[in-house]
Symmetry: C2
Subunit: 204 residues, 2 copies
């Protein structure tokens, strides 16, 4: 909870007092503890682990699925994309350099694997995560690709959604099928080579 | 077990008798039952479920991981690729038409999802599956792409491994991130559009 929210909630804030996490944050953290410990995420377990009431949980989230999607996204940001800059450099930065932001790799690799494990086991969770978080994170890159079409850098009939699926798909393939580590230079090189192929293919 | 193997094992064969699965097949089937029922796969459970001895299991597989990788590949074939034919048509067929062979989608979707769930939870299983099965299934497509480089249809410096990662990555992205169904025409269309982008990008 921010200091503003603390004040709004009528709680004392200031340098003498460590920030106290709000209810939502406690609920998210309790959910992540269960996930990280490979324990089933149930409303009872989240309530017990967070010390927050069931009512508070349902005030913020419609369902356990929505809560899990938000918990799995915790710590991942939605990067801003400058679509007026050189587009190739912008996208390369998004995919390969601004890792913490774009792919949330500050986000531990173990949790990334756990997230995929959970979404493959639960299609509702997969769709909740896609709708709440992935589409939002794709937005800037889609805008950048659209700007490229508008500027005549890419083919006028380019399907930007599928082009982005190809760029991101290569990266997922490393993690999901090859079981490779993105920090491995050989893996990154493979992704960059594929990016170049896709980039050429989008050109006029 | 084939009739030849049955005869080699000194068992009677013929129209009057239903084919009896061999030990290996019984072990695979017991493993798949555990997997399909979301039960933990342990040596004890496989032995109990198959009626085959622990010794027979270890004669055929070095580890439970290797057995699980083979079980998860059960029913998937390694398609032959004709690299003398039109390469674009050949690859499109591999990726979009010969589904049962190439992606093993005869292979139920539920098991596909379960396989990804299991490999994300167990990196050793992921590598075993990659080494034993995925690389073998990629082989024909890699040969086709190499033939395209040799014939001058693609850039001489094309990295065929990463180009194939891009083609397959788009498909995995649908299943793993979008939670889409490949039988959905919109999803297939997205994959085909991405394939076209990649294909152009490989050209000279």
């Amino acid at each position: 909870m921010t200091a503003e929210a603390e004040r709004a909630a009528g709680r004392p804030t200031g340098p003498g007092r460590p920030p106290e996490p709000g209810h939502d944050e406690k609920i998210i953290q309790a959910t992540l503890r269960l996930i990280d410990q490979d324990k089933p995420v149930t409303v009872n377990a989240v309530v017990a682990g967070s010390g927050v009431s069931r009512a508070a949980l349902y005030r913020r989230w419609n369902s356990l699925t929505d809560l899990m999607a938000d918990a799995l996204n915790h710590g991942r940001a939605t990067p801003e994309v400058d679509i007026t800059d050189d587009l190739k450099r912008t996208l390369l930065e998004m995919l390969f350099e601004r890792l913490d932001e774009a792919r949330g790799m500050g986000y531990p690799q173990r949790r990334f694997r756990k997230r995929l494990e959970l979404v493959m086991a639960d299609r509702d969770l997969q769709w909740a995560y896609w709708n709440s978080h992935v589409t939002r994170r794709r937005h800037g890159m889609i805008e950048a690709l659209r700007a490229g079409v508008d500027r005549g850098e890419f083919r006028a009939d380019l399907d930007v959604e599928s082009a982005l699926d190809a760029m991101l798909g290569v990266i997922y393939y490393q993690l999901v099928v090859r079981g490779a580590d993105l920090a491995d230079p050989e893996t990154e090189q493979r992704c960059r080579q594929a990016f170049d192929v896709i980039w050429r293919g989008m050109g006029v």
